[in-house]
Amino acid sequence: MSGYIPVSATAIFWENTFFNIASALYILAMFFYLTHLFGRKQLGSFASIVLRIAFLVHSVFLIMRTINLQRVPFVGPYEFGNMFIWATALVYLWTEWRLKDKYFAVGAFLTPLITLYIVYLTVVPRLIPAVRISRLHQQLRPVLQSPWLKIHVSASIFGYAGFTLAFAAAIMWLVKNKAGEQGVLAHTLPQKNILEEYMYRAAGFGFLFQSIMIITGAIWADTSWGSYWRWDPKEMWSLITWFVYAVYLHARFTQGWTGLRTVALVMVGWVAMLFTWVGVAWLLTGIHSFG
């Protein structure tokens, strides 16, 4: 027995439409960022505008879903995935604004990741029936009706956003490394040391929020399950992710690691993060398996 909130067909239609438009715009932004990357420099600011519009439309979708649910859309893979994509776009747009227009190239690596997340929410469930991404409007079970849910989920979407950004910079580093100093990419991609700095900042940002997520999760578990740490797979995997980034931050800061070794650590961290989000829900079992 689990309850659904009655939502009119029109409301569902508009909600889905805004999701679809936002997804299409994110993908369009990816296209323009990539075109920019491969030499059509003037398209950079256009790509940025498309991404901003995508973000706004996506915000409208989230507001609509909030209205339809009569609560914040923080529960289950579909809602969490959307919040997480939204936060990733927000953090990226913020860095773009802070760094002015110097690093549009990052967008060419970040938007494909956003597209990947959208594919997970839309295409993957069709290909793999075991992956069920329900869009139904579910009532909150009493255990989830807690103010800690909001703090916990808000922290985690920003943690994941930071790690996604760091991962985008890591891939850029690899591409830059391969491309060398000649060709189109040599001009459009920032220097490797700049990318490493970007990666470090994004990872540090993600690390702070990941820590807040773990702490608030523990506090919440302590008020609802009766203990703050149950060693369940989702908890363990967020801890593992946290360990990997801790190793990266230390290696870079105190051991002066640079280059491929740090890039590899950031990539491993992203895989661990992705597994915490996706893998634990479908491959491992635990009390957190509601997503």
Binding site: L208, S224, P233, F243, V247
Partner: protein, 439 residues
């Protein structure tokens, strides 16, 4: 010669070994290895059953041992770095010679037109102050140095983060050593003793609140009174996400159950027994092995096409207690007791009339003690502060010296983390200083 001063070289060597050992034990390399080890073991542990992993790995002496070793590493590292970091943060070396400045990684030499030290340094100070720096000027043997810093608290980030982790581990350990966890529960009017805690719990009322949508699991609230040696020490209402806390103890609502009130009447002599039956419980109906095994209580009973009973929702519209009649160890038939509808069952000792007269809600609790909670909480707050200082503040310092001979300014900067940013900042500062120079 060694022989002439026996003992001394030996002692020195020992000291060396000890300090080498301490250096190794407090090293970041060891820390990284230990964290990676914990990560790898945890990955393997999550692939199996959670229960097994908890028993065989997370609670094993060796896993906890690695954690303790990591904590020792962190403690030694924190102790070793404590004074240097405090010194670096609060007593920075403000005076630097021109050659020391030119050895810094981020530096510039600005050639000025006018030969006026006071005016040049004044402009530098003004520019730095306008950029949010705390500026001071000190005079050493080689003349004046302008010293400027921003976000110096950021230097403390790692120290606070590490200390907070130690506090969290300490809190967890203290909580685990002094704590307990018991499960218990009951219906209104029940009492039970919490042995490890040395107190008694009386459940004075239990009530259920339906959600707007009756298919959603409702909330159950229970009023409890806690007594110790007959004296009341706490009372309150417990429900999901709203535990009752007192003196380091916590009573959590973990779930609820239905308890059915059933009257068993002998048809022959009218003898009555009133019993309260929990799901999955059993009642012996005679001495010959006739047993009623309770399956489940359904508040709003129905059956699907395959004849499997289920509850439409949580509304008590059609309460039914479902059970199995067992004779000599064999299930012989289903029994469905509807509210106030008697059901007659044949037993070796004659016919019995079973009647469901009502039902109640039982609250199930987890009762724990965790004295480490305040320590854990302060550790958690410190951790967030430490990480904020580490990653959101960008501590940096500049030293500026005037070189009389060449009418030049030596500017050098230091930042523990963001060298690139520092270079950009210095570039900006340079152009601002130069434009002031032209004024």
């Amino acid at each position: 010669m060694a022989q002439e001063t026996p003992g001394l070289p030996q002692e020195k060597k020992e000291q060396n070994i000890i300090s080498q050992l301490l250096r190794f034990l407090s090293s970041m390399q060891l820390g990284i290895i230990l964290i990676l080890l914990l990560a790898f073991i945890s990955i393997f542990a999550t692939l199996g059953e959670q229960e097994t992993a908890v028993q065989k790995v997370y609670r094993s002496w060796w896993y906890l041992g690695i954690m303790a070793f990591t904590a020792l590493n962190l403690l030694l590292c924190t102790l070793r770095r404590f004074r240097p970091i405090m010194h670096l943060t609060f007593q920075p070396q403000k005076n630097k010679t021109a050659s020391a400045i030119s050895k810094l990684k981020v530096k510039r030499v600005l050639n000025l037109q006018a030969k006026d030290e006071a005016a040049a340094l004044a402009k530098v100070k003004e520019t730095l102050a306008q950029n949010g720096f705390k500026v001071s000027q000190v005079t050493g043997t080689e003349g004046s140095t302008v010293f400027a810093e921003r976000s110096a608290w950021g230097y403390l980030g790692s120290l606070i983060t590490h200390a907070s982790l130690l506090i969290i581990l300490l809190g967890a350990m203290y909580g685990a050593l002094t704590g307990f966890e018991e499960k218990n529960g009951g219906i209104a009017g029940d009492n039970f003793q919490v042995k490890s805690g040395g107190f008694d719990v009386a459940i004075t009322a239990v009530r259920m609140e339906q959600e707007k949508d009756p298919t959603v699991r409702p909330r159950v609230f229970s009023d409890v009174r806690i007594t110790k040696d007959g004296k009341e020490i706490a009372k309150g209402t417990v429900s999901i996400n709203q535990p009752l806390r007192f003196a380091g103890n916590t009573i959590y609502h973990t779930s609820f159950r239905y308890v059915s009130d059933v009257t068993i009447t002998s048809v022959q002599d009218g003898e009555k027994h009133e019993v309260q039956l929990w799901d999955h419980g059993q009642v012996r109906l005679d001495d010959e092995g006739t047993i009623l095994h309770l399956m489940q209580f359904f508040p709003n009973f129905t059956m699907n096409a395959d004849g499997i009973p289920y509850s439409k929702n949580y509304l008590p519209e059609r309460p039914v207690l479902a059970g199995l009649l067992i004779e000599n160890g064999r299930a012989v038939r289903n029994v469905f007791l509807q509210l106030n509808k008697p059901e007659v069952i044949k037993t070796a000792e004659g016919e019995l009339e079973l009647l469901l007269t009502g039902f109640q809600h039982a609250a199930i609790y987890s009762i724990t003690r965790n004295l480490g909670r305040p320590i854990l909480f302060s550790g958690a707050v410190l951790l967030i502060i430490g990480l904020y200082l580490s990653f959101f503040l960008n501590p940096r310092r500049f030293w500026v010296k005037y070189d009389q001979e060449n009418a030049a300014l030596f500017i050098g900067g230091h930042s523990p983390r963001h060298k690139l940013f520092l270079e950009q900042e210095l570039e900006r500062l340079e152009s601002e200083i130069m434009s002031r120079e032209g004024e």
